[in-house]
């Protein structure tokens, strides 16, 4: 077998050296009745070519050739081949967690740069080396807030990504954390006024998302003030941090839970992605996840090492800040390289292009008779559209025209079956936006 660097004669030689007759002997601690007598019923073995053929066949069964208007936490943006060429270097791809600093300085310095970029982007003081994804970053942020405040209630806006809220609910359930949701105003922004005062009193944190799930920008100032006045923390969840290229960072927030997939990471049917938690310096010892820190060796040379490990499971076990061990390091590296390539100007320009494109699309949709924009708030590259008919019906017809239409909101918000979430990025050609508008117009008018 091509992955196995041994010949039969070497195997025999090694068995001899060990002093056993056959390989079976080495498995004798497994009771005989549990040892398999038959080969497993698995497909294969396949040669490299056949593996490629199998996956090419699968790829052909997916959406190639379709134009997609989906976002909702997962974004298609420009990616440079440079990033991929670099992360495929064996020294990055096939290295382990950098516990042995002397032969892991490459990964460690890159993590330190990642932490810096994430801090700069979010306007926070410190960021970790990654969490699994945005949904678990958010969930862990809530647990962190609970530890910091010793309060057990969390107020969560219904404009936060519904799948993130679902994950939070799953984790919170057995930890005695009460999740209380609150609604949104006609602008599409949170309706903070709807939160009862009693809830505030017990709240560890209030969780908002900006741009929120409807694509609408939230004003963090007022909610931060209320939260802080009540001894609660403000957690800002960000699923499309590209917005931060032209939109003010959530400096008012105490914890930022981020999904960084948008920065060079392929959608890959949902993962691997890159969660991040960023926060204030004073909260760092309650932050979960790895951290690289700067230090020196005996000769005074700068170097980096994993630090503050006393927060982590391998040291603290059941008292750790989290159970996370393996994280998304390689994709944090992707994000790091991608952002270094974009740089300050590139990020700004990219964000600005998204704003322009999405506004062009918004205007195009608005002009279709019968189609409305239900929310008045400012948006970045996503917005909600209300159709005269259920989105699912419209999408069926769009699919026949090789378009993946708006996300039907009733998937998460029962009753909202006529509303759809549209995402347009710099990669969506103008012609495709116009084709969508024309198709929708046709469908809406035809009435069938």
């Amino acid at each position: 077998m091509r992955y196995l660097p041994k010949s039969q004669s070497e195997r025999r030689e090694m068995l001899n050296a060990i002093g056993v007759k056959s390989i079976e002997t080495l498995f004798e601690t497994i009771p005989a009745k549990y040892r398999l007598r038959e080969p497993l019923k698995l497909p294969g073995p396949l040669s490299e070519m056949e593996i490629i053929d199998y996956f090419k066949a699968r790829a052909a069964e997916n959406s190639r050739g379709y134009t997609s208007f989906l976002g909702a936490g997962v974004y298609q943006h420009v990616r440079s081949v440079v990033t991929d060429a670099l992360v495929q270097r064996g020294e990055f791809l096939t290295s382990y967690t950098p516990y042995q600093a002397e032969i892991s300085q490459g990964t460690l310095q890159a993590i330190f740069e990642f932490q810096t970029l994430m801090s700069q982007l979010t306007g926070q003081e410190v960021a970790n080396a990654s969490m699994y994804d945005g949904s678990t970053a958010l969930t862990e942020s809530v647990l962190m807030a609970e530890r910091l405040t010793r309060r057990h209630r969390v107020l969560v806006a219904r404009t936060v990504h519904p799948e993130y809220r679902h994950v939070l609910a799953t984790y919170a359930k057995h930890l005695g954390i009460e999740v209380e949701e609150f609604g949104f105003a006609p602008s599409g922004q949170i309706d903070a006024a709807s939160i009862p005062g009693s809830s505030w009193k017990e709240a560890a944190a209030v969780v908002v998302q900006s741009p929120n799930f409807f694509g609408v920008l939230e004003s963090l100032g007022p909610i931060a003030e209320t939260a802080h006045a009540n001894g609660a923390l403000l957690i800002d969840c960000i699923t499309e941090p590209l917005a931060l290229g032209i939109i003010k960072p959530p400096e008012e927030a105490d914890i930022v839970a981020l999904e960084a997939q948008t920065f060079g990471v392929p959608p890959s049917y949902g993962g691997p992605f890159v969660g991040v938690i960023a926060t204030r310096d004073k909260f760092v010892r309650q932050m979960p996840g790895r951290l690289a820190g700067e230090t020196t060796d005996a000769a005074g040379r700068r170097g980096f090492c994993l630090t503050l490990a006393t927060r982590e499971q391998h040291i603290r076990r059941e008292k750790a800040t989290s159970n996370i061990c393996t994280n998304e390091a390689l994709y944090a590296l992707v994000v790091t390289i991608h952002l270094c390539l974009l740089g300050k100007d590139g990020l700004r320009e990219l964000a600005a292009q998204n704003l322009s494109k999405a506004h062009f699309a918004r205007d195009a949709m608005k002009q279709i008779p019968g189609v409305a924009l239900p929310f008045s708030g400012k948006t970045f590259n996503e917005f909600v559209v209300e159709f005269p008919r259920p989105v699912r019906q419209i999408n069926g017809k769009l699919l026949a025209q090789k378009m993946i239409g708006p996300l039907a909101l009733d998937k998460y918000y029962p009753g909202q079956e006529k509303r759809g979430l549209i995402c347009v990025t710099e990669l969506t050609p103008r012609a495709e936006i116009e084709r969508l508008a024309a198709a929708v117009k046709g469908i809406v008018q035809s009435g069938s």
Binding site: Y3, L26, P45, L46, I51, I52, F55, R58, A59, E61, N62, R64, G73, Q88, R89, E91, F92, L93, S95, Q100, E102, I103, Q109, E113, V126, S130, S135, T136, H166, V167, T170, H174, Y269, G270, G271, R290, L291, E294, T295, A299, R302, G303, C305, T307, T310, E312, Q313, H314, R317, T326, L330, I337, L342, K344, G346, L347, A352, S356, N395, L399
Partner: protein, 524 residues
């Protein structure tokens, strides 16, 4: 060379080292230190719609001028920066990575290729099923393979790491027991367990009860029986244990648990010792997770990503997290309609890109996966055999895929496991796992995996024996290792005491000794 040594020292440092030598290697500052206003590494196609004035559109409340401190560098500088950084890393592609419990095996290149295919890397997790059949089929096919390998009945591919698999499995146990009327209070964990186990137990809302291994590093059946009270929801066990030893009474343990209404959770991180040889489903396991980034060869990438699918017995199926992949008539769909589900542990469908690579790995072997297991166990035993004379073996039980020594002998000369590990670096190897499992003080936990040739194992054995000899003859040499790396041992205490966790412009301008500054050269 990172320190000043006398000539004799120098000879001692490289004497007998056959696998590595020093070579010139590029320095490189932080990317922020290379930034100059006006440079950039990506250019965008021109905008094909009218440009919006962002400041006007967003207003003062929202508009941002740009991210302060973000680097400004060109494409070639990015290439060089990360290429240089990469050369400071050790990696499987460079040599043996004998980290116990980590299963650092070869990461096949074809897996990287297929993961990047147009039509796979490009797919959105919320796109309609009609245009996702390829992705769904991949998940379905992987699930079938994993069930066959483990002998379990159903699976969730959603967890994205071993630890998340543990949590998911525990939540399933809780949901199941709740459905029986009592979620119970405790989860038993042997003292040899990995740190994620107790940490996960807590998040699942259980208490941890540690149980001591007996003098053979195994669970003492009689002792164990007493632990399994009405309060016990499950035992969470790693098999083979983190000592690399098969838990000989596992079936009996399962029976005891089942008899008392509790379940058996197996941490499958060490499945590389079992695949194709025995199946947890057959010996009584109710819930387990696999680490695809260990046993199934997906790359660790400097710390992640991973995937930690959970495999379960039939009785637990109603509680699986949503969504679940379902097949009907060769059509595949995501099933969200699961009223008894524990919920969701991650948005979307898990680390699809990792799942895909694991399937590619499995297809490459097919039933031949047993040969990989055999080679892994062969390598571990071969190394054990050749090091038994030099290192203390605290638990003298048959080893499977890994072997755990202790530094008891070397400690007499003041040399501990970390020193030996660091000295291995000079010999051209990545260290083994140190300081784990906790039941072995000064542990040297060595897992070669099947990916190592006899040649590489022999060089490792030579190195380990040479270091044992050095620990006798010249302990200082070992205690001050590594000697050949671009930085020496770092001051981790200082790093933790006054953490510097990000670059800041001011701080670093002061710290000139560390900086590879661009000198201003006086023009003649």
């Amino acid at each position: 060379m990172n320190q000043k040594h006398s000539t004799t020292d120098l000879e001692a440092i490289s004497n007998g080292v056959r696998k590595a030598r020093g070579h010139v290697n590029q320095n490189e500052g932080l990317i922020f230190e290379k930034s100059v206003t006006g440079k950039r590494g990506i250019e965008l196609p021109p905008l094909d719609v009218p440009a919006i004035d962002a400041v006007k559109e967003l207003g003062a409340e929202f508009a941002r001028g740009g991210v302060e401190g973000f680097p400004e560098v060109s494409e070639i500088e990015v290439i060089r920066h990360f290429t240089r950084l990469s050369t400071w890393n050790y990696a499987i592609d460079l040599g043996m990575y004998p980290l116990g419990s980590c299963t650092m095996k070869y990461n096949p290149r074809v897996n990287e290729f297929v993961a990047r295919l147009d039509g796979l890397a490009t797919e959105h997790p919320l796109q309609p099923g009609e245009v996702s059949q390829g992705c769904l089929r991949i998940m379905h096919d992987l699930e079938k393979c994993l069930l066959e390998i483990t002998g379990m009945n159903a699976a969730s591919l959603e967890p994205v790491a071993g630890a998340q698999g543990e949590l998911t499995g525990l939540l399933l146990i809780r949901a199941y027991l709740e459905s029986k009327g009592n979620a119970r209070k405790k989860v038993l964990i042997p003292d040899s367990a990995h740190g994620t186990n107790p940490a996960s137990v807590v998040i699942a809302g259980y208490e941890v009860e540690n149980i001591k291994s007996n003098e053979r590093g195994q669970i003492d059946i009689e002792h164990f029986r007493q632990f399994v009270t009405e309060d016990v929801a499950a035992l969470m066990i790693t098999n083979p244990s983190t000592l690399g030893v098969y838990e000989e009474n596992i079936a009996e343990i399962a029976a005891i648990l089942h008899e008392r209404g509790a379940l058996l959770y197996m941490d499958g991180a060490n499945m590389n010792a079992l695949a194709g040889v025995t199946r947890p489903g057959d010996f009584g396991v109710d819930v387990m997770h696999l680490n695809l980034h260990k046993t199934f060869s997906t790359p660790h990438g400097g710390g992640g990503p991973g995937a930690g699918p959970v495999l379960i017995k039939k009785i637990l199926e109603p509680f699986l997290p949503v969504p679940v992949v379902r097949e009907h008539d060769r059509k595949f769909a995501l099933d969200f309609n699961r009223p008894q589900s524990i919920g969701r542990v991650r948005a979307y469908c898990g680390n699809f890109g990792v799942l895909l690579r694991a399937l590619a790995y499995t297809l490459a072997y097919g039933p031949g996966i047993r040969q990989a297991t055999e080679d892994a166990v062969l390598n571990a035993n071969y190394i054990r055999k050749h090091l038994e004379d030099s290192y203390d073996l605290p638990y003298n039980l048959p080893s499977m895929h890994e072997v755990v020594f202790s530094d008891a002998r070397q400690k007499k000369r003041g040399v501990n496991t970390m020193d030996i590990a660091k000295r291995l670096i000079d010999y051209g190897f990545h260290p083994y796992t140190t300081a784990f499992p906790l039941i072995v003080p000064g542990a040297l936990m060595i897992e070669p995996t099947e990916s190592e040739s006899k040649e590489e194992c022999d060089l490792f054995i030579d190195a380990m024996r040479a270091i044992a000899a050095e620990a006798e003859a010249n302990p200082e040499l070992v205690k001050t290792a590594p000697h050949t790396t671009r930085v020496g041992r770092l001051d981790e205490v200082a790093a933790a005491r006054k953490p510097i966790l990000r670059w800041k412009p001011r701080q670093h301008l002061d710290a000139t000794p560390h900086k590879i500054a661009t000198t201003v050269i006086p023009t003649a």
